[in-house]
Symmetry: C2
Subunit: 352 residues, 2 copies
């Protein structure tokens, strides 16, 4: 498609700790023609996901490490603007792992006419529920699916459970807290960083209380005050010291669902894990990790998204979007995930 | 019951590391009369269990810490020789957590006419299957129940799974390895300490291979050689570095059942945990702790013991007993659990 200028964020160096602008090239190029079997996708929105940080490292992600001199990858939503793949129609809205770029040309192995159970492949996104497109990267997309699957399928939350949620001001955690409330948790407590976020977590996301991990020097004791008889469910996407503090406070039969370990993604060396795993035996408890990609396209997933859509339409679920429009500053925006600079699901709108 | 001399192992000091003779008093006393509601139990056999070491510490066990100046507790089998409890008949064979002693007088809260789901209470043991009594402390008791529940219920082992077992020369591990084989595991590998134990594990306990953790400086790599595509099930009762090395080698959807952490019981300070819990997310895997006491008296438990009894009678399960008769040296015998000096389930026969 001659005459179209593309911009891509190209990974030049594997970052140490937080990303720097110089780890990337913001590459301008002319799009080559689309060949037989390929599609041209206009990227519309890119989710800023902590997982992307893991993929930038030589190891430590759940996909293969991103190659150097190739585009950064992240969960995106886009539209097929030219198709030479007979299975994909021009005009289809697709979502999945795509590029930090204005456009991407994808071969048949990178796009599927149906959800495959792999997050690494673009697939048509059903947007017939009529929400604004970024919502399909949030409650109607990976964040909502992660929250629902982790809380109900992995942790098996039941009516009357006492629930703790880390990253409670974040995209996944804020949904987990609200879903726990909607499904009859006896108590929901969030963990977040800073007084302002904690206030939001209680006011907007239905938590009974929020523990400010920056304002306590004994997180374990702070959790114990909220759960004197222990917690039944912990939904964790932070890991590290927060995970250890939660393991100190398990009720009998507790379940911990782990969807990520944000605290670990910027470490270049592995750090010691929780010293108290023995509590899993004492309390006959479990820790289980999961990836939402495995879940896509299953009947359980479809039922979950129907439930989420109904909650959204009834105004029961506050799914806050923090949409940015400075594509040319993507690395700086991305770092806000780790500094707490975002307020809701952080999404980059990609310019036309 | 005047005129009966009792001997009890009394805890005098909380041990540091391995137990010392001076941590205990071997107390001689005359039994007081049995009062209304009480039973007098003659202890016949005491299992030497690593868990007892945890109970001796100020914290860290799954029962309350043993009080100082009180008898050491452990899983025992005994016989009611006098009953003033109307629910318990004289002559009943009972098992559960009892004292390191020749005799014990137990109140109604310490003995139950039916299995209660708590290991901490003595209850009648069905010995109608006719095995020698120590077997009800091994394959027909807590070891067999721990192995069966952990492998099949907690780890959910299925036909074709590749299974790794730590402590494979020990009482629980040796049963786990054989049960995995009997139920169609595609591969069973043990971990044990020393060439002799490893030879036993392969020859007598049905393992395809055994990794000698004392003879390797890279346990993770040794496991990887046995499981190039990862392991499906890990049954662990050791913890520490062995757990971390196994977590390095998980197949997608792997399950780790943890019945104990022998490596930790002699530590006075908590030690760092596995640095690689992130692998639980990458491989959508879980770690689950359990206590066999919760399981007793359930229909699943009864079915498990019927299956174990049949395997024993058909000669399919090698449940080795290492019965000692030096009650007066119990602390030294107990330490052999941690030095690897036992050869099968270590049981102390209590003299008449």
């Amino acid at each position: 498609m001659a005459g179209i200028t593309n911009y891509q964020w190209i990974l030049q160096e594997r970052p140490e700790g937080r990303v720097k602008r110089s780890d990337f090239e913001f590459r301008r190029s002319e799009l080559r023609p689309v060949e037989a079997g390929e599609c041209l996708v206009k990227v519309l929105y890119m989710a800023m996901d902590p997982a992307t940080r893991g993929w930038m490292s030589a190891s430590g992600g759940y996909l293969e490490p991103l190659p150097l001199d190739g585009p950064v990858m992240g969960v995106t939503i886009g539209k097929v603007v030219e198709s030479r793949n007979p299975q994909i129609e021009t005009g289809t809205v697709v979502a999945g792992v795509g590029q930090w770029a204005k456009y991407m040309i994808v071969g048949p192995e990178q796009i599927s006419p149906v959800r495959t159970g792999s997050l690494g492949v673009l697939a048509p996104m059903d947007v017939s529920t009529g929400f604004e497109l970024p919502m399909y990267l949030h409650a109607m997309g990976t964040s909502g699916g992660t929250a629902h699957r982790g809380l109900f399928d992995i942790a098996g939350m039941k009516v009357g459970d006492k629930v703790l949620v880390s990253g409670a001001a974040g995209s996944v955690g804020s949904l987990v807290a609200q879903m726990a409330r909607l499904k009859g948790a006896a108590k929901v407590v969030g963990i977040a960083g800073g007084a302002e976020k904690c206030a939001t977590v209680v006011r907007d996301y239905g938590c009974d209380a929020c523990i400010d991990y920056r304002a306590t020097d004994n997180l374990s004791a702070a959790i114990a005050r909220e759960f004197p008889n222990g917690l039944d469910v912990f939904f964790d996407n932070v890991g590290g010291d927060i995970l250890e503090a939660a393991i100190d406070n398990l009720a009998k039969g507790a379940r911990i669902a782990v969807s990520g370990m944000v605290s670990q993604y910027n470490n270049s060396e592995p750090v010691p894990g929780p010293r108290n795993l023995w509590n899993l035996v004492v309390n006959t408890a479990r820790i289980e990790g999961f990836l939402v990609g495995d879940y896509f396209g299953t009947p359980a997933s479809e039922a979950a998204y129907r439930e989420i859509a109904a909650w959204l339409k009834e105004g029961k679920l506050n799914a806050r979007l923090d949409v940015r429009e400075d594509f040319e500053n993507t690395p700086d925006v991305f770092n806000q995930l780790f500094s707490g600079g975002n307020n809701g699901r952080l999404v980059m709108k990609v310019p036309d």
